[in-house]
C-alpha cells in the first residue's frame, strides 16, 4: 500500500495530471470525449481502490452506486432545462451514499468470497430494479436532454454541455478525489481501515469496532463512485441499466488491478491503459478484422495482467521512482 507518495512519486502524479490537462489542446471532439470518459472511470476506480486496496473489501458491486447516481441525475434534471450541479451533484452523491450504507450494512458483515458474491448480488438487484421496471425508461435507458450547469444566482458559471469545460471539470474532480482520498487514508480513520486490511482480528483485539470502520469506508467509496456516475451521465446525457451491470463493476476492478491496487493514483494509469486498449482493439483502422472480435484479445489481456502483472502499472511506476520500502508485499493478508 502507498499512503503518502514521496516527492518523486508525487512529481510523477502531478506530471500525469498536467499532461492530461494538455489533452484538449491537441484532441479533437472524439478524443476529448474519450479522455473525459477515462478521467471519470479513473475517479470510479479510485473509489474502488479505497475498498480493494486499502480496506481489504473486494467489492464486486461497485457499479451499483455509479449507476444509481447517474440515474439520479436523470431523475432530478428538469425535462427541458438544465439541472444546477450545485444541488444536483450533492443529491446524486448522497443517494449513492445512502444506497452504499444500506447495502454495506448487510454485506460488510460477510467476508472473503461471501463479500464478493453478496455485493455482486445486491448490485444485480439494483440492475434489475432499473432494467425490469417501467420506471426511468426500463431497459431502454433514459436521456438527460439538457446537461447540468453550475449556476449561482441565475448566472451560469460552467456549462457541462461544453466539452472542454466539462473535461477540465472532470480533471479537477479527479485531482480533488485523489487529494481527498489521500487525506482520508492519512487520517486516524485511514490508519484503522488499513489495519483492518492487514489483520482484522488484531484490530478487533485492539478494541476497534471494525464493522463500523468498514461500513464507513464502503459508504465513502460509494459516494465517490456516485460522483463518477454523475459525471458519466453528463458525458452523453444518457443513462442505461448497463451502468449498474456487473461487467461495469468488473471493468472498475480491472482498472484498479491494471493500475495497481493500493496505490490510489494507479487507477489513473489503469483507466488510460484499459480504455485506451479497448479503443485500439475496437478500431478497424488499427487492428483490422480483429476489431470484430475485440473481446477475445481483451480477455487474453485481462488474463495476462492477472498472471504476469499482479501489482499493476502503478506498482511498476512506484517501484521505479520510489524506494522499495514504500511498496509492501502483495500478501499482507493473514
Amino acid at each position: 500500500m502507498i499512503v503518502t507518495p514521496n516527492r518523486k512519486l508525487f512529481a510523477v502524479i502531478a506530471a500525469v495530471i498536467l499532461l492530461l490537462g494538455l489533452v484538449p489542446v491537441f484532441a479533437d471532439t472524439y478524443f476529448l470525449k474519450l479522455f473525459t470518459r477515462i478521467l471519470i472511470l479513473a475517479i470510479f476506480a479510485m473509489s474502488l481502490d479505497l475498498l480493494i486496496g486499502y480496506t481489504g473489501l473486494v467489492s464486486f458491486g461497485h457499479a451499483a452506486f455509479f449507476g444509481l447516481a447517474a440515474y439520479m441525475l436523470h431523475l432530478v434534471s428538469p425535462e427541458y432545462d438544465a439541472a444546477n450541479a450545485l444541488w444536483a451533484l450533492p443529491v446524486c452523491v448522497l443517494a449513492a451514499g445512502v444506497a452504499a450504507a444500506a447495502i454495506g450494512s448487510l454485506s460488510v458483515r460477510t467476508k472473503g468470497i461471501y463479500f464478493i458474491m453478496v455485493t455482486l448480488a445486491f448490485a444485480q438487484m439494483m440492475f434489475y430494479l432499473f432494467h425490469d421496471s417501467k420506471f426511468a425508461g426500463g431497459s431502454d435507458g433514459a436521456f438527460i436532454y439538457v446537461k447540468p450547469v453550475v449556476a449561482l444566482f441565475g448566472v451560469t458559471l460552467l456549462d457541462m454541455g461544453d466539452r472542454v469545460v466539462f473535461y477540465y471539470l472532470s480533471l479537477g474532480f479527479l485531482a480533488v478525489t485523489y487529494l481527498l482520498l489521500l487525506m482520508v487514508l492519512r487520517s486516524p480513520f485511514g490508519q484503522v481501515i488499513q489495519g483492518i486490511k492487514v489483520n482484522e482480528q488484531r484490530m478487533l483485539a485492539l478494541g476497534y469496532n471494525t464493522y463500523i470502520y468498514k461500513l464507513v469506508s464502503f459508504v465513502i467509496a460509494g459516494m465517490f463512485a456516485g460522483l463518477a456516475g454523475f459525471l458519466f451521465a453528463a458525458i452523453d446525457g444518457f443513462v442505461a441499466p448497463q451502468l449498474l451491470s456487473w461487467s461495469e463493476s468488473g471493468v472498475a476492478m480491472m482498472i484498479v488491478i491494471l493500475g495497481g491496487m493500493g496505490t490510489l493514483f494507479g487507477p489513473i494509469l489503469g483507466a488510460v491503459g484499459y480504455v485506451g486498449l479497448e479503443e485500439v482493439l475496437k478500431s478497424h483502422g488499427l487492428v483490422g478484422f480483429v476489431a470484430d472480435y475485440w473481446q477475445i484479445p481483451m480477455g487474453l489481456f485481462v488474463i495476462a495482467v492477472v498472471l504476469f502483472l499482479p501489482s499493476g502499472l502503478g506498482g511498476a511506476v512506484a517501484r521505479l521512482v520510489a524506494p522499495a520500502r514504500v511498496v509492501k508485499s502483495e500478501d499482507e493478508d493473514d
Partner: protein
Amino acid sequence: MLDPVFILIQLLNGVQYGLLLFLIASGLTLIFGIMGVINLAHGSFYMIGAYLALSLTQFTGSLFLAVILGIPIAIVLGLIVEHVLIAHLYDRDHLYQVLLTFGLILIFNELQSVIWGDDPHGVPIPEILQGSLPLTDVLSYPYYRIFVSLACLALAVGMYFVIQRTRLGMMIRAGASNREMVETLGINIRLLYAVVFSIGITLAAVAGMLAAPIESVYPGIGEQVLIICFVVVVIGGIGSIKGAFLGALAIGIADVFGQAFLPDFASVAVYALMAVILIWRPSGLFGRS
C-alpha cells in the same frame, strides 16, 4: 381465483428450475469449497452446454445423443481450462480469481458469438418427451419438464452417493476440510482439484444441455444463471452441497412464483430473499463461518 392446479404447476416449475439451478450451483460450491476458487466463468460452461446441445442435436438428430457426446467434451474442456489457467489461481487472492475468470467470460462470449452468432435458437424437445400430462381440462404439464426434474434429481442422488460413499468422495470431503493433511496422506491434491473442477463445470454444462429445449439458446444465458447461482450458494453456505440443494429449491420456487404473481419484481424478490437470509445467518444456512 387461485386455482390449486395452477399453483401446483407453478410449484412444479419452481422445483424443476430449482433442480436445474442445483446442478450448476453444486459445481460452483464444490469449486469454492474444495479449491477455494471463485469461478465467474461457471455460467459460461452452462452457456457452452446449451450451445453444444444445439449443435449436437442438429448433428445427431437427438438430444439424448447430444448429451452423451457433450459430456466428454465438457470434461475435457474442464481439464484443459483447469490445467492452463485455474491452476495458477490456487492460493491467490480472490480478487485475481475474479478477474481471470472475468477475462475468460469475455473470451467465451466472443467465441460463442463467432461460432453460433447472436440470434436466439430453439432446441427441439425429443419426440418421446413431447406432449403434456393433462391435469385438468385446460391445464397440463409438459413431459419434458418432468423429465428434466427427474434427470436432475437422479444426478443429485448420484452426487450424494459419490460424495458420501466412494473413495473419490472421501478425498473430496477431506480436501474440503484440510488440504495439507490430504497432501500429507499421499493424495495428489492437484489431480483432485482438476477432477473437481472438471466435474463442476460438466454439471453446469449438463444443466445447459437439459435447459436448452425449455429456454431458447441465446447469448448471455450464462451470466444470468451465474448470478442466480451465486445467490443460491450464498444462501446455502459456501461449500455445502446440502445448502446448495435447499438454496436452489428456495430460489427456484421464489423466482417462479415471483414471475407469476409479481412480474415486475420477480428478479428483485430473489435478492431480497438473500438479504433476509444474510441478516439471519451471515454465512448462509449451512456455511462454516
